[in-house]
Amino acid sequence: MSECAGIQTRLVEFVRLARENGFRVGVKENIDAQRVAHRCGITDPQRLHWGLRSLLCSDQNDWERFSELFGAYWRPGKLQARYQPMAGPPAARQAGGKGVGGGEGMADDAGHSGTRKGASAMQSLAETDFRFLADAGSMRTAERLAERLARRMRRRVQRRQRLQRHGRRIHLRRTVRNSLRYGGTPLQLAYRQRIRRQPRLILMIDVSRSMSLYSYVFLRFSRGIINALRDADAFACHTALVHITDALRQPDVTRMRESLALISQGWSGGTRLGEALQRFARDYSARINSRTLFIIVSDGLDTGEPELPAQQLAGIRRRYRKIVWLNPLLGREGYEPKTGAMLAALPHSDVFAPAHTLQSLLALKPVLTSV
């Protein structure tokens, strides 16, 4: 009996360990874990493994790392420092949690009071090239503004949807339904309308060294977009391609920085846009549909072959709604797109726009809303 209770405790601990390691597990899973153990038998580790894996995992990522966690916990003597059940994580998590509430609130307040202080300061900030924002303070303000801008865009997109009232074609089924109350006489007509949907956005941000002055602002901008539009994905590219949507989605800015830093090995190196695009086409092409807007933020200074990006863009374009290329260098006086990759890619992008100030980002609004 006591042994049984001991195993129950072990299971509860394991579920908690899973939660601390980022598995999406609630209280109900705790109860079900006991049932799984009962059903699969606790004596057979293989079956317990299978059962708990199905219960506790909720996506492919979980699926792949479950075995390690399971092994680390249930095989005696293999409990590694990485998965310490009691130490660090919960405390850190709590502190982080507080950070989310407090920190974000403060940041927001600062933002509002900043706006109240006067429009002119903001105005000038909006027109400054990001690379001249030397001090950390104005950099952060610019980042925050970029994020707010992205949120505002969403409101605009949604409003357009609501304004679509009267359709042109009659919705027959609904009309018949409406006429029920008039005894079958179609007094009240119903119209069919084409629903305007939010575009699906895919952002690809060049984080190579040549972009280092700009990339952080764009990461913040994409964070705003990702939080505002649910159907959006962000990728960072340099010599490889990294999916950063989940990292950007974290509510706390500091933690976002941390996780970006974690996945950012190789950032600020060279760029191989063509290969990044190729990888995108291969691994993530399922995310594409006909109302997808593909935004590339890059200066086009590419170290790979110039033909590859163009080739890939042509392939992507066939399946996308629109390709927008934002180039921060375009805002500089006397700049002309002359690099091989840029020249080759130009014919394949629908919009080629500067993106060096907040104002130039604001000018993107019609592009986003007209999909």
């Binding site: 059903r39 299978w50 199905s54 219960l55 995992c57 909720s58 006429s179 005894g183 079958g184 291969r282």
Partner: protein, 295 residues
Amino acid sequence: MSNEHDIIEFQQQMMQVGYVAERSLAATLVLLTELQRPLLLEGDAGVGKTEVGRVLSKVFDCPLIRLQCYEGLDVNAAVYEWNYQHQLLAIKLLEQSRLSPESAEHQIFSEAYLLKRPLLQAITQAKPPVLLIDEIDRADEEFEAYLLEVLSDFQISVPELGTIEATSRPYVILTSNATRELSDALRRRCLYYYVEYPEFDKELRIVNARLSGIGQQLARQVVAFVQALRRGDLRKKPGIAETLDWAAALLRLKVDSLDENPEAVMDSLVCLLMTREDSEAMTEATVERMVARAV
């Protein structure tokens, strides 16, 4: 302890209806009946996700109700709809009768005029059916939220009729191809299983199970070839269905071994390659090399 026995027995039952399942999948399906949670299946296209639902309904000997999701799927197509034409007809007929307006209304909005769509169908069966919700990622987020509600309460409310309680709890299987991220709430509620491309042995068993007339030699070669193809750099990797198609095609062309009839192999490759780029990449020389390795 009879648990292990359960799992093996379940696996064998699935085998009898023609599905070669991993032990771990069988274990998960046993849990599905035990915990009464929906099961979310993910994996590449063509690994047999949808097939699981079909097989489960055969094993349990119960109806399979399938809801294919698509963009713009709404309540009318997924849950219920009133049969308006019928209702109108009834109104016209009732005009002649001396029924009071209340009872007439009651009659018009009764279950007789309700068209049941898959979700409502699934919860009003006498015996628990298998409800297969295919490609849930194609439906909108709003629908996903609604589905979540139905799957947790197992009741559906129809404004004109009241709440319809479930008479039986269906076994729910959801499949997803990851065209968009599913909500955490849905993921948490479901059991999860990631279906991978089968290993050599398993795929061989599948081919043997489905195509009884195939020779051992050809089956081995076909599977080895397809496995090599999957490891390569293709745009669309061939799934199990494609393997079976190809094997059937070769059987039809009376090929006994891949190396003795190169033209037939080339001709029948259309079963495996699904994009122009892929078929261009597979030149005769490449195919010959791969055949040589597979034999």
